[in-house]
């Protein structure tokens, strides 16, 4: 009995010494998939400058270089406070929207001694349309009326070396809406990335927003579900994302609930879809625990 107990104890000790946890890393190439966020957060001390362009519709034809002559831009800065907590601030040319967010990765996919099948990140954001105007020109909007909020749980899993999938339950709140619209919109996003080379990958992102929740489009056409496709190139210090999307918006309020383009309307270059790109550049501001 004593021998068995001793043997078991030794086995347990050896197992404890040998067991380790392997964490999944780089589930996605960057903190953004196309328009929306991935589960990734920046490492501590990393400041990222992100510049995003969304061009005009391809239906604008050859003379306008299929939309390249018209550009909307967002510039932003993201910063890793810790390896799991990051904050970001940005401004979009559309409506002069200023946005900010906090992102915290509370689960990391892992195997081994500690097994976790998914990674999960919470995102909380705020956007202020500084140029938004009241339909009645005699009235002005106050700050709260120009504000919107978003909360997301980003849940992802890396499946092998090449494929990652993500689902994004989303809550969007717009303070000011028309009488026949809802302030709150619940949507679910789906995204995936496939890494076909060491530093090249393709990805897609789709937001399923209930049609009944979509706001009225002042232009008359119905807003659509957001669907985007992207190619990523990871270089030393830069990430380039080239994409096409039916969304011109770069802030959650716009691409989740106000996507104007229609993938199904017309042939490829005659659709209201938009070419765009994101470029990010990392700067190391302070050191971190490396090992």
């Amino acid at each position: 009995m004593k021998k068995i107990t001793l043997s078991l104890t030794l086995v347990l000790i050896c197992t404890a010494l040998v067991a380790q946890t392997d964490y999944a890393y780089e589930t996605f190439d960057d903190t953004r998939i196309v328009n929306g966020h991935s589960v990734e957060t920046k490492n501590e001390g990393i400041l990222t400058f992100i510049i995003a362009h969304r061009f005009g519709p391809m239906t604008s034809g050859r003379n306008n270089l299929w939309g390249l002559d018209f550009a909307r831009m967002r510039m932003g800065l993201d910063y890793g406070i810790t390896n799991k907590l990051m904050v970001g601030l940005g401004r979009t040319s559309t409506d002069g929207t200023i946005d900010g967010y906090v992102k915290y990765k509370f689960l990391s996919q892992s195997s081994g001694e500690r097994s976790m099948p998914i990674s999960a990140t919470f995102l909380g954001g705020y956007a202020l349309e500084t140029k938004a105007v009241h339909p009645n020109p005699d009235l002005e909007l106050d700050l709260s009326q120009k504000s919107s909020y978003v909360a997301q749980i980003l849940i992802a899993r890396k499946l092998g070396d090449k494929l990652s999938l993500q689902v994004m339950p989303t809550f969007l709140h717009r303070n000011l809406v028309a009488d026949d619209e809802e302030n709150d919109i619940f949507a679910v996003g789906f995204a995936g990335q496939y890494q076909f080379l060491k530093n090249w990958s393709v990805s897609t992102e789709y937001y399923l927003t209930p049609k009944s929740s979509l706001p009225n489009n002042p232009d008359g056409n119905d807003f659509q579900q957001s669907l985007s496709f992207s190619v990523q190139i990871d270089t030393k210090g830069h990430i380039f994302q080239l994409h096409i999307s039916n969304s011109q918006g770069m802030v959650e309020r716009t691409f989740i609930s106000e996507s104007e383009g229609d993938w199904q309307d017309g042939k490829f270059l005659k659709r209201d879809i938009f070419f765009g790109f994101n470029i990010t550049r990392d700067f190391k501001i302070k050191g971190r625990k490396i090992r």
């Binding site: 964490y23 890393y25 780089e26 490492n43 001390g45 390896n83 070396d161 090449k162 890494q195 080379l197 060491k198 030393k236 210090g237 990392d282 700067f283 190391k284 501001i285 302070k286 050191g287 971190r288 625990k289 490396i290 090992r291």
Partner: protein
């Protein structure tokens, strides 16, 4: 009575004399005696980098070496010496070589594989205080005045490493003292040296200088550094047959020391077809994507991207071992 006195006068000194000889014959050290102390007793001067060790200093030094920052003696919170590296990015803290008196890359690699020690470009801090030169040989040839002072000074070497090699900042006095104190805690002991029975016999006959030489013959006074050339043809490589099983050790203990998730490098190397295929594809490139280029030449710190990879000298990775790594990559790609 007189004869007894004479007898005592003869016998007692004789006994005392024999005892003295016996005391002189025995080396006055054991396995735990620091080498430095034995040398000091034999008349060697204290090195310039000598500092008195206290537990607090050693602990602070350990934090500085392993974490890159520490709390100062007056409670001040230290800042990272480097944003990019810690000492252990490039240096081990344990013995690396089974035989301290020779450079034997394969023996070192096998020792590393058996003991799970990283296979790194920099020399281990273990025993570094016992050496007499640093940044020697081809470092001096290539870098000249930048390393001249560091060649003969461990303090200057440490400062050079903090500012230049680590792309960090100058060390504060308490940081330097703490790092040196920690290094002294890793000094060689007599038991680490391969002192044989014959050596001990020889010790008894020797004078001090000879015993100093005997001790110093048991370990290298410097870490030789030869900056090696690229192969004439990258497609043909160096004239050795690669051993993939050794290459696996180099990949895991060398490359993946930094090329890992959240590591020093943004580029993560996995032991999978994607990584190995990429490495194989670039073997013959004239760029730092080629393993020949990156191992023999490293990269440079650049504006906007200060992180770089130091190269491996010939003594830290032989041509045979580069071919071993290539064989491992090609086999797995």
């Amino acid at each position: 009575m007189k004869s007894i006195k004479i007898l005592l006068l003869v016998i007692v000194p004789a006994i005392l004399g024999v005892s003295m000889i016996s005391i002189l014959e025995k080396p006055d050290w054991d396995d735990e005696t620091p080498v430095f102390e034995v040398l000091a007793e034999l008349g060697e001067d204290k090195p310039e980098h000598f500092v008195t060790m206290t537990d607090e200093k050693v602990k602070r030094g350990e934090d500085l070496v392993k974490l890159g920052k520490a709390t100062g003696p007056n409670g001040e919170k230290g800042k990272y010496i480097s944003k990019f590296y810690t000492c252990t990015s490039c240096h081990n803290l344990s013995r690396e070589d089974p035989n301290l008196a020779t450079v034997d890359q394969d023996a070192r690699l096998k020792y590393a594989m058996e003991n799970k020690i990283p296979y790194l470009q920099g020399s281990t801090f273990w025993g570094i205080v016992n050496r007499e030169t640093w940044y020697n040989d081809d470092y001096v040839l290539k870098y000249g005045d930048l390393v001249r002072k560091a060649e003969n000074s461990l303090k200057a070497s440490t400062e050079l490493c903090a500012v230049v090699c680590s792309q960090g900042r100058s060390l504060k006095d308490w940081e330097m003292e703490s790092i040196l104190a920690y290094m002294w805690s890793l000094q060689m002991k007599m038991g680490d040296l391969d002192i044989s029975k014959e050596d001990t016999e020889e010790w008894k006959e020797n004078k001090s200088e000879e015993n100093v030489a005997l001790i110093k013959s048991k370990y290298l006074q410097k870490s030789p550094a030869t900056f090696a050339h690229l192969p004439e043809s990258k497609s043909e490589g160096y004239p050795f047959d690669g051993r993939p099983e050794m290459g696996k050790g180099i990949f895991e203990l060398g490359c993946q020391h930094c090329h890992r998730p959240d590591g020093e490098s943004d580029v993560v190397f996995e032991n999978n077809k994607q990584t190995l295929g990429w490495l194989k594809k670039h073997i013959t490139d004239d760029s730092d994507k080629s393993i020949y280029q990156i191992i023999r030449k490293g990269t440079y710190a650049e504006y906007g991207h200060k992180e770089y990879m130091p190269h491996y000298t010939l003594e830290k990775m032989s041509h045979q071992q580069v071919e071993d790594l290539r064989a491992f990559i090609e086999e797995g790609a």
